[in-house]
Symmetry: C2
Subunit: 205 residues, 2 copies
DNA sequence: TGGTGATTGTGAAAGATGTGACAACTTCTA
DNA sequence: TAGAAGTTGTCACATCTTTCACAATCACCA
């Protein structure tokens, strides 16, 4: 009955996990909901309540053992395994995503890169060979890839998403500045820097 | 009394604006809360209610004139003017951000680029000269820049943010995978692709 | 001109989310 | 060993957010 846990709680767990990894790097072994909350700008009660959905990870009087809680969150979030991710689009943005070093050790690695432009097909970004869009369905279906990142122009994003979904992808990270229409069993997250900037200008001046 | 409007409402306005711009591009002149909601996966009631915080932009029986509503949202969001944005960090990520073509016409342009590495200082990305971090405070303060994007390693992000804030920046878009501690009058938005991916893996399998 | 179908803006109700407060427990110290 | 200080997990409550439902209005057409 995992569906009974609110989305909004799930959405905070990766943030907790990231903070724990950082604390761990800094050599700390134990933390408390209060310390974590102070770092993240979240109330300690909320952190305790969020975590309590998945079991009691802490110890009264002491707090949380960082290594243990980190491991538990990884399990809950399903990122103990390493997920293969397909990248679609090899323009500037796709290039940057392909070169990004931050995926490793956090549960993901890029498995293949696709583009439609004949200029780019056959060339490489970082260590990845750029493959033609026509082969995407086959490759993704065969390898059983479930996650994709879309870094194509807004105009092509919906049709790319449709193809991905038909091939079996169930989670899409969309960098294109457009909303995608997808079936209920497919998850989408959006990254559009302008949207984030516009969320702040309202408060300026 | 603009503070009485919930943050969560503000955070949806840029999404509405983006959809309106798209509809406009497609040649449409009028839309309804129902159509917009269908596109965005949001209920029509929510869209109407959100918009009603700022006045009555629509007409009963007809819907919303797209050009007009778009203009009104731009005003509300404070993106009729063009904001200067500072970019800190000229590594792979900073490079991609600097080259990103999507800022223009949506209220923003990059005004200056900073990095600490002596290798990079003096060189250019796209049309921007990379300037040394030591000059950042002066330049940002003099030009009155209020918005910055941070694309430096996690280790340096907090100190960069501190410098930015001291120089007058009031809105930070942080690409570094770390939480920033900032005063109440400073706004921060985060972009970390791994966080977004981890928000979806929970639901896979 | 009057009737039909569409759509907004909004108050009230329902539902979701966050906070406060505390018993229960742990560790530390004297 | 006993008391003090710290911390969790949780329940009840408060607050925030979304949905519902409908009067009011508009455009169109016969």
């Amino acid at each position: 009955m995992p569906s009974s846990i609110p989305d909004i709680v799930i959405s905070r767990l990766p943030v907790y996990l990231r903070a724990l990894e950082r604390l761990s790097q800094e050599g700390q072994e134990v933390t408390s909901s209060h310390e974590l909350g102070k770092r993240l700008g979240i109330s300690s009660a909320q952190i305790r309540k969020d975590l309590s959905h998945f079991g009691g990870f802490g110890k009264q009087g002491t707090g949380y053992r960082i290594a243990y809680l980190r491991e538990q969150l990884r399990q809950v979030l399903n990122v103990e395994r390493d997920w293969e991710v397909a990248l679609v689009g090899a323009g500037d943005l796709g290039n940057a995503v392909a070169r990004y070093r931050g995926f490793s050790n956090r549960g993901f690695h890029i498995a293949c890169v696709f583009d439609s432009s004949t200029d780019k097909i056959g060339k490489s970004i970082a260590e990845f060979l750029i493959q033609p869009l026509d082969t995407m369905h086959t490759i993704i279906a065969e390898r059983g890839i479930k996650i994709a990142m879309v870094a194509v122009p807004a105009e092509s994003a919906q049709s790319v998403a449709d193809t991905l979904i038909a091939a079996g992808v169930r989670a899409i990270l969309n960098y294109a500045p457009i909303n995608l229409n997808v079936p209920d069993n497919v998850h989408v997250q959006y990254i559009d820097p302008v949207i984030h900037l516009q969320r702040m200008t309202y408060y300026l001046e």
